[in-house]
Amino acid sequence: MAIRLGSPKNILGRTPLTRRRALWGLALIAPNTLGLLFFFGIPVILSFVTAFHQWNGIKPPVFIGLDNFTKLLSDPMFWQSLGVTLKLLVFTVPIGAVLSLGVAILLNQKLHGRAVFRTIYFLPVITSTVAASIVWTWIFQAHYGLLDNLLAPIGGLDLNWLTRPDLVLIPVAVVTIWQRIGFYMVIFLAGLQNIPAILHEAALIDGATRWERFRYITLPMLSSTTFLIVVLSVIGSFQIFDQVFIMTARTNAGGVGGSATTMAYLLYQKGFVGAQFGYASAIGLAMFVIMLSVTVFQLRLQQRWVYYESTDG
């Protein structure tokens, strides 16, 4: 009965039926796998190779070893962009998670028009980030913008949201959170609906208040969902680009003094504006290492606070 490894016949199955099923399976996943290989795998490999070259995209690349990485470590723009990215992460991850949890809890109640509200909250997710950013740019425009006009009766703010280095990240964070809430709300809703009703009923019988049920039942039972959302939004925060690109394009691309230049935006600037493709690839590689480290750290940390319901009994 020993299986002879390496034989295609055995890999696909031992009977004509299993082989046919296996072939069907392979055929069905082929489009996605090929797409992933061509549009993700190959660019990733090329980017890795390019990171060790000096290349302006037109002349032949020149191998320069680790020069791009040593330059990166001493480039104040890189460290500034890392700081900007971390600031956005700190803004958007907790606020986004808390707001989407709040909306999910609200829309988990038996409300009239619940489906309509769920759809409305989900709409930003399917809205193009570019289109949304343009609209939010108008909202945040000083003097003529919607926000300032709404606040006019109480004196208005007339703040230069999109140019002031101390304010520019607020509009970017608002758009990011606004667009994330719907998606995370759906995940939280699924998590909420997976909590056995019996737990809440037992707590009610024991006289637990609404807050106590939330604190000691809902939150712990949602910890695995919350963990997923935190991981996704941390990775998403490292990739913030469109919002910065659109919202600062007309006033001061990347913010005054790089105040809105995220790592992804710096990569774009160096690569596609400055034609330093090798250096941009090195930034991409650095982003990958940072994101991987943060995710591994989160995975390690989850053992302390994430509760997975056991199915073994």
């Binding site: 995209g57 037109i58 002349k59 740019t137 108008w138 913008g145 230069n160 001061n252 005054v256 596609f272």
Partner: protein, 450 residues
């Protein structure tokens, strides 16, 4: 009556011949007027193509795209039957990024527009066809264009031509006559000064109705560059690109003059305009919220159709110290891509587009002034502008003493300049601090240029 008309036309022709020679002297802001290098009245011939083929032409301007389409149709029927041309318009905001990406993948369109700041980059990277031999074959001398128009497109030891000028543009003040009437002001004349301009801006400002007197600083070409040049200082960097000029007293004075009006609420900030571009200024001008706007002659077709109030154009005011009214001058060009399947055919199309025949399409469109110095074409452009009663002549007069666009490239220069503008015109930083910071920030790229 008839003789007066003829005399006027003759004078105009003489003036136009002079105008097209003047870009040559515009290169050095501090130089005195130099002699003309333009061969007045010379013709630029088109040539039959050897073999037809399929070409793509890319431009950034929607008005140009229409004109280029008409011109290329004529090229096909007259000079290259059987050829096909696709005109591709990519908006300015994406144009340069897309061009760079296409250059890196060897997918540049066969023929495309370049500006003076980018010509060197593409020539230096081997992306352009050397047009010199093709032009020489047809007897076209590059000296037919003023040096201010063509020199930025020369490359290599022999100063060969890698792109050919297709137009000339400069800037003047567009003003809202209705607002002038409302404020009881006399219309400005070519003799006006910065003081007159400032007084008019103050009088035109109507804070209660959200009307600003002026918006004239937004961009190098149709903005602050002209004000600094009128102080006798080359804007941004010296022509050899080794020295930042922003901290020179003339630059600082010009910026302080503009900022003074901004601080008094007579000009909108960048945030109030929603952008730092000349088009952002134009949009406010169009909506009747700006009394005076500094714009290029490329905006004439838009002004003709967009503006619903009475308006006119006047030359930039004269600096009271130097007496200069010096607007920035620029010429965009056509280049042929070296990655083209048929570089000779692409060069042939470029030659047609800058020839007397091709340029007639631009002249007849009335917006972009043709680079071809033929008096008939220049006259045709004026007539075709269809702006009877408007002082389009102001643009031609502006070229009499204009500032050639200083070429610059480099991330740090672009960013430093952009930050300086926001710092001064939006965040209230002093001109002295902002210009000093900008010069420090662009230092790495300036050193490289030397």
């Amino acid at each position: 009556m008839v003789s007066t008309k003829r005399l006027s036309v003759l004078l105009l022709v003489v003036l136009l011949i002079g105008v097209l020679s003047l870009p040559a002297q515009a290169q050095d802001a501090t130089a005195e007027a130099t002699t003309s290098v333009t061969t007045a009245g010379a013709t630029i011939p088109a040539a039959k193509c050897d073999q037809p083929g399929a070409l793509t032409v890319r431009t950034w301007d929607e008005n140009w795209a229409k004109t280029i389409k008409a011109a290329t149709d004529a090229w096909v029927s007259e000079y290259c039957p059987g050829a096909t041309v696709t005109v591709d318009q990519v908006p300015w905001s994406n144009y340069w990024d897309k061009l760079k990406v296409d250059a890196s993948s060897g997918d540049l369109p066969d023929v495309f527009n370049l500006n003076q700041a980018t010509g060197f980059y593409y020539a230096d990277n081997g992306s352009l066809v050397d047009l010199t031999p093709y032009f020489a074959k047809s007897g076209i001398q590059s000296t037919i264009w003023g040096s201010g128009l063509v020199d930025p497109y020369r490359y290599g030891d022999n100063k060969d031509i890698y792109a050919a000028p297709m137009e000339w543009v400069t800037a003047a003040i567009y003003y809202n006559k209705d607002l002038f009437d409302k404020a009881g002001l006399a219309y400005p004349t070519a003799a006006w000064t910065w003081d007159d301009f400032a007084k008019d801006a103050a009088a035109l400002t109507d804070k209660a109705n959200g009307v600003y007197g002026a918006a004239v600083y937004a961009e190098y070409q149709a903005g602050w560059g002209g004000w600094v040049a009128s102080e006798g200082v080359p804007p941004l960097v010296t022509q050899d690109r080794t020295t930042c000029t922003l901290t020179e007293p003339g630059s600082v004075d010009a910026f302080n003059f503009l900022k003074g009006m901004l601080d008094k609420g007579e000009m909108p900030t960048i945030s109030q305009m929603g952008g730092s571009g000349a088009d952002d200024e134009y949009n406010l001008f169009k909506s009747g919220k700006i009394g005076m706007y500094l714009g290029g002659n490329w905006k004439l077709p838009n002004a003709k159709t967009d503006l619903t109030f009475n308006w006119d154009i006047v030359q930039m005011p004269h600096n009271p110290k130097t007496g200069l009214s010096r607007a920035a001058l620029h010429a965009s060009a056509f280049a042929a891509a070296s990655n083209s399947k048929d570089p000779a055919l692409s060069a042939n199309l470029v030659q047609y587009l800058i020839s007397d025949e091709g340029q007639k399409f631009f002249a007849d469109a009335g917006g972009t002034a043709p680079s071809d110095p033929s008096p008939a074409l220049q006259q045709g452009w004026l007539a075709a502008s269809g702006l009877n009663g408007k002082n389009v002549q102001a643009f031609i007069d502006a070229t009499k003493d204009s500032q050639g666009t200083t070429q610059f490239s480099g991330d740090s220069i672009d960013k430093a300049y952009s930050d300086m503008m926001t710092n001064i015109f939006d965040l209230g930083m002093s001109v002295e601090d902002a210009t000093k910071a900008a010069c420090a920030a662009m230092a790495p790229d300036l050193t490289k240029a030397s």
